[in-house]
Symmetry: D2
Subunit: 138 residues, 4 copies
């Protein structure tokens, strides 16, 4: 199983008056990494919505905050996709400082469902995503 890694620089917008990255903003960083992992599979979410009327919605997040990130830090966000059947999937994601294997700042497990854009009802995952998940877990 390969792991996708996405770099994120910490800017002023990400920090709070405690001098560290605000806790909700890690969810933004992780979503950027997931978006780019999906893009690496050929899945562009804007196109998916327009052409197939399908979107992904987050169902749950379990996140542990271990060490704080600070202004100007370069973070590495890992992203591994996990199979969860036909209509949902999950991601395991770690946030490291500087490099994978450096200070581990945050860990999360995020579950996502595939929904119809109009009705918000569950839909089968797109074929290329199912194939990508199968290949990755292979």
């Amino acid at each position: 199983m390969t792991t996708f890694t996405y770099p994120v620089r910490v800017y002023w917008e990400d920090t709070d008056a405690g001098g560290i990255v605000y806790y909700a903003n890690y969810l933004k960083f992780m979503e950027r990494a997931r978006t780019e992992l999906l893009r690496s599979f050929g899945i562009h979410q804007n196109q998916l919505a327009k052409e197939q009327g399908v979107m992904f919605a987050i169902v749950s997040v379990n996140i542990d905050y271990l060490l704080p990130a600070r202004l100007d830090d370069m973070l590495m966000i890992t992203c591994t996709i996990l199979s969860e059947g036909r209509a949902s999937f999950a991601f395991s994601q770690d946030v490291y400082r500087e490099q994978v294997g450096g200070d581990l700042l945050t860990r999360a497990r995020t579950r996502a469902a595939c929904l119809d854009c109009a009705t918000l009802r569950p839909r089968r995952l797109p074929d290329n995503l199912l194939q990508a998940i199968a290949t990755q877990e292979g």
Copy 2:
């Protein structure tokens, strides 16, 4: 001309590592005040989009930052609406600490256009908004 005032408490999410409110977040505070001013005229933007296919888009913002706001500050956001013809309008907004007439933190002038949700082309302002503007400017 009456002035509408909307209170905003400063939370961690609003601050940055400089210990003060992040500059972009005043645009959020001001938009909340504008939304509530419009609501006081009977204009609910979600409804407006659904029922009349119309939305408001910001065309320009001129904002001056005079003094910083900090965590736990209570801010008062004023909001005066200004006529600019049939398809656009403007707002004059001040941000005070604690009370109108207290420390003046930020001033802005914001122009907005009325757009068709689908085409993003200019549309005439809704009648109740035109009436409210006319009444306010009395």
Copy 3:
């Protein structure tokens, strides 16, 4: 045990292109409610940092997204504080639409630690917080 409730209106800033509240923003709403619950106990976090050199840091969040919130929705955020010993505590929080007992949109359990602002090492919770927790759980 009493439950604290804090109202949050959904503004444009909170939504995303899916037409619903962006998943990270519920963490902002919940933090506002926790801040106001603490304030109701006489704990002002800005003051706490200045006078006692102490801050609260989030250690973990487990959040389930059940139903989406939309622009203009009025949300009710509940907040119950839970004892976890001398240096940490937890919150149970639900987000309802319109009123407590209405559509349940989101549920979360959030753990927080008390830290020294300078060293980021664990510190004993302030006495008035320990007392408030004991009273609430009484």
Copy 4:
């Protein structure tokens, strides 16, 4: 005079229920580009605050919104620094879709002051910044 360009991908977090990038978020994009321009001059703001007790604060923003950006768009943020004396400076910034010279989405002029972190009083710009500005304006 050379122009610095910084790429920004549009993610879900940046959009709103209108399907376009939320107006306040361009100020975040522009601040990222300014930070990286300063970094290219050897100015790391975190270090500057720690070692010289100096920070930059935004004094004013004049921004025009010409065309909307959407999910998955790749934006190019230009950034030119302008001299304004010893204690303040300004930036001229454009946001293009895809490439500089493509659709022009947003234009802004932003003024910044150099402040003492503790007192928030004006301070002389760091020497390397003054030199970089002089060289750029050459």
